[in-house]
């Protein structure tokens, strides 16, 4: 083959360009740490990586949601625990009052304590969390336990039965609230045969004052029912929190897997990239030194 000057120079330029391009590619991979830096690097991989990233972002959000619901449930549990101890106080007071040898002063003392517990329970029912009423269903801006006022107030539930259900995983939602009517058996929503807790306590107070031991004994049964109800609700809340914990653990595992998939898809193989760079550098330098020799070897240089 006849070799012309242009041939040598254009081939040299092409070879150097190709080599430079490969060096730039390897260098981009090394400096960005990614093997996919633009969609054309790997179109399918790009789509996969986008999909993985949005799944990871969704999981992060679900974990945040789980945290929010979990703290609300923790708050609910501790509030229910104080309802439970208030009911225990009522139980103890009722048992004390069931003793017929009690003096009038003693009865009035018990009645006064019952009033205190009543106030405490109403306040507990109207507990606020992050500026919202915890037990009002979806009517989070309305105090759910409303008093009729007057000397012997009656109480009613003015919240709704709305649930606060939050997604904590793909297709998994958990309810973050308990409605006040269930806690206090308003309108018989927990035990239809019993009166609500507030009515029950004010009846008990009257029975204590009048020394109606039979009535007190009946009320005690109803109070025990309420206690059982609250315990059941706490178990429910505990179960929900367990579910959140297990879902979160599962999500964390999934996220770890997705992250390693993402890394496999996107991340550069550093060893490979470094080797490529090294190889290309060697090729490039070899091409240049070969060119120096070839271009120097022209007849012109040897003619006098």
């Amino acid at each position: 083959m006849r070799v012309s000057y242009n041939m040598m120079s254009s081939r040299l330029v092409n070879d150097l360009m190709t080599s430079e391009q490969k060096m730039v590619d390897a260098q981009t991979q090394i400096s960005s740490g990614k093997q996919i830096n633009k969609p054309s690097d790997n179109p399918l991989g790009t789509a996969q990586s986008m999909d993985l990233q949005s799944s990871i972002s969704q999981i992060d959000q679900m974990s945040t949601n789980a945290g929010i619901v979990n703290s609300q449930l923790a708050m609910t549990d501790s509030t229910l625990s104080s309802v439970s101890s208030a009911l225990t106080t009522v139980q103890n007071l009722a048992m004390q009052a069931g003793n017929s040898t009690l003096s009038d002063e003693g009865r009035q003392g018990i009645a006064a304590q019952l009033d205190q517990v009543m106030t405490q329970l109403v306040n507990t029912g109207n507990t606020q969390y992050n500026g919202n009423y915890l037990f009002a269903g979806n009517k989070t801006k309305t105090a759910p336990i409303a008093s009729s006022g007057g000397a012997t107030p009656t109480y009613s539930y003015v919240g709704d039965s709305g649930s606060y259900s939050v997604n904590i995983g793909p297709g998994i939602s958990v309810t973050g609230n308990i409605t006040g009517d269930k806690i206090f058996n308003m309108n018989g929503s927990a035990n239809p045969s019993d009166p609500d807790v507030f009515t029950m306590i004010s009846t008990l107070k009257q029975q204590v004052l009048s020394g109606d031991t039979t009535g007190i004994s009946n009320s005690l049964t109803a109070i025990n029912d309420s206690q059982t109800n609250v315990t059941a609700l706490r178990a429910q809340v505990g179960a929900r929190m367990d579910r959140i914990t297990s879902t979160t653990t599962q999500l964390t595992n999934t996220k770890t897997n997705l992250k390693s998939l993402l890394s496999n898809t996107e991340d550069a193989d550093m060893t490979q990239a470094m080797t490529d760079l090294q190889t290309q550098q060697t090729t490039y330098q070899a091409a240049i030194s070969a060119a120096q020799k070839v271009f120097a070897a022209c007849l012109v240089n040897y003619m006098q």
């Binding site: 986008m50 949005s54 979806n138 022209c298 007849l299």
Partner: protein, 468 residues
């Protein structure tokens, strides 16, 4: 020995000088684009047909010396034709690749600042709102992420539009170049025809013409035919561009939308371009980019419709029935969060209609849209559709790059082959130079010898008699 011998020497000196000047021309043009090496062919001059003139002192003369019978360009017609096709293919893919790379850069994936991550942020904002359905802060985040998403979609769409207008501008300016080159080729055609008719060999004009044809072939699909009178005919898909000394003009019409189309000035018919840079630009603008636009439009429309449908079931933070979240009827060119919601984020609905403020059904439902298959999108999620769009852009860029690379490789191969035939080799020229120089020197030496022989005859013979 006679004057004839001196004439032979004269012819040799003149021929070697001519050959030397061809060598000089070759060396001078070693780096000239489009220059083809010229070759000298020597021919011996046959003795005259008149036999009486061919006797010198009764001895027959064998020849009348040497002449330069031709100075030809090193011919590569077959390769030339293949190179034209290669140029068309390379420029077609390369121009497509150049334009699409701009779109690819605008797509900016995979990254944490592309549409995909803006979409995740948007769904996450709704999910956060579902955990705090009465929160104004969460509503602000929903509005802000919604607007960011909308802006990114709009910006990508407008970048595609800009690349389309760039294509149109490039098409118009390319057409301008084609027109200029076509008229230059027509000009060269008429000069070459004249010179050839006058018995000359206008090699340099032919080089210029070939170079121009090659440049035209980079811009559009052109067919070349050699005419008998050394002129060439260029045609584009059957329509004549250059014939002899006449060139047709291509007109670039730009419509109101900024779309440039090419028509022949003579009959106002569209120019059927299928190759070269113009072909690549037209294909990119009208098929590839238009396809991207329509995919983005469908995506934006479905995003708008599905969010709005879910949102319309709700009531805002003030307890009033909710309106549209994204401006109704938007596509990718104008998608945005409804202006009244931007002005007052309280209008974002989290709760179902006729429910209390703590309800989060609507916020949950909208956050859940990211996992919904949408029938109008072939039962795929919005995220999957956008992922496919990105993959499509990536595939188009890498395919056009691969095509360009491949045609460039075969083009290089062809060019190397052609350079091997028609390129100047300095070694060869130096060798030729020495050859011609030696021949010249030898001829002068012969002349010296003849001169000395003449001297012997004229000045030294018969000296005895003359001196007396």
């Amino acid at each position: 020995m006679s004057n004839l011998d001196i004439n032979i020497i004269g012819s040799a000196l003149s021929a070697q000088q001519q050959a030397m000047s061809v060598t000089a021309q070759n060396v001078a043009n070693v780096n000239t684009q489009g220059y083809r090496r010229q070759e000298v062919t020597f021919g011996s001059v046959a003795p005259s047909a008149d036999a009486s003139l061919n006797l010198a002192n009764g001895v027959p003369i064998l020849g009348d010396g040497v002449t330069v019978s031709s100075v030809q360009r090193a011919q590569t017609s077959f390769l030339d034709r293949q190179i034209l096709t290669g140029n068309q293919q390379y420029s077609y893919s390369d121009s497509m690749n150049q334009q699409l790379q701009q779109v690819e850069a605008a797509v900016n994936e995979p990254s944490d600042s592309g549409i995909s991550s803006a979409m995740s942020d948007f769904w996450n904002a709704w999910s956060t709102l579902s955990t705090t359905p009465d929160s104004l802060a969460a509503r602000n985040t929903v509005v802000q992420t919604g607007q960011t998403l909308a802006d990114k979609i709009q910006s990508l769409y407008s970048t595609i539009g800009q690349v389309q207008s760039q294509c149109s501008q490039a098409i118009a300016s390319d057409a301008d170049q084609v027109n200029q080159m076509a008229s230059q080729i027509a000009d060269l055609n008429s000069q070459i025809t004249k010179q050839v008719a006058a018995g000359q060999q206008p090699n340099d004009l032919m080089d210029q013409r070939d170079l121009l044809v090659e440049k035209v072939s980079k811009l559009l699909n052109v067919q070349v035919n050699q005419a008998d009178n050394s002129g060439i005919t260029l045609s584009v898909n059957g329509h004549c561009l250059v014939q002899g000394s006449i060139s047709e003009q291509i007109g670039a019409n730009t419509d109101g939308a900024g779309i440039t189309t090419l028509v022949w000035s003579d009959d106002n018919k569209p120019v059927q371009v299928s190759g070269g840079e113009i072909g690549g630009l037209i294909q990119t603008r009208d098929t590839v980019l238009q396809g991207y636009k329509s995919t983005l439009n469908t995506f934006a429309q479905q995003l708008t419709t599905s969010v709005n449908t879910a949102h319309a079931l709700g009531q805002d933070a003030n307890g009033n029935p909710a309106g549209d979240f994204f401006t109704a009827g938007s596509d990718a060119s104008n998608i945005s969060v409804d202006s009244s919601i931007v002005a007052s984020p309280a209008l974002v609905a989290a709760a179902n209609k006729n429910s209390a403020a703590g309800d989060n059904s609507v916020a949950s439902a909208i956050a859940g849209l990211q996992n919904n298959s949408i029938p109008a999108l072939g039962n795929q999620t919005l995220g999957a559709v956008y992922g496919q769009f990105t993959a499509q852009v990536g595939t188009d860029v890498s395919t056009s790059a691969t095509n360009a690379q491949q045609s460039n490789l075969s083009l290089q191969q062809l060019t190397t082959q052609r350079d091997s035939i028609s390129g100047v080799s300095l070694d060869e020229e130096m060798t030729n130079m020495t050859k011609f120089q030696q021949a010249y020197n030898a001829a002068t030496r012969v002349f010296t010898v003849i001169d000395s022989m003449m001297n012997t005859i004229v000045n030294e013979m018969g000296v005895i008699g003359s001196a007396g």
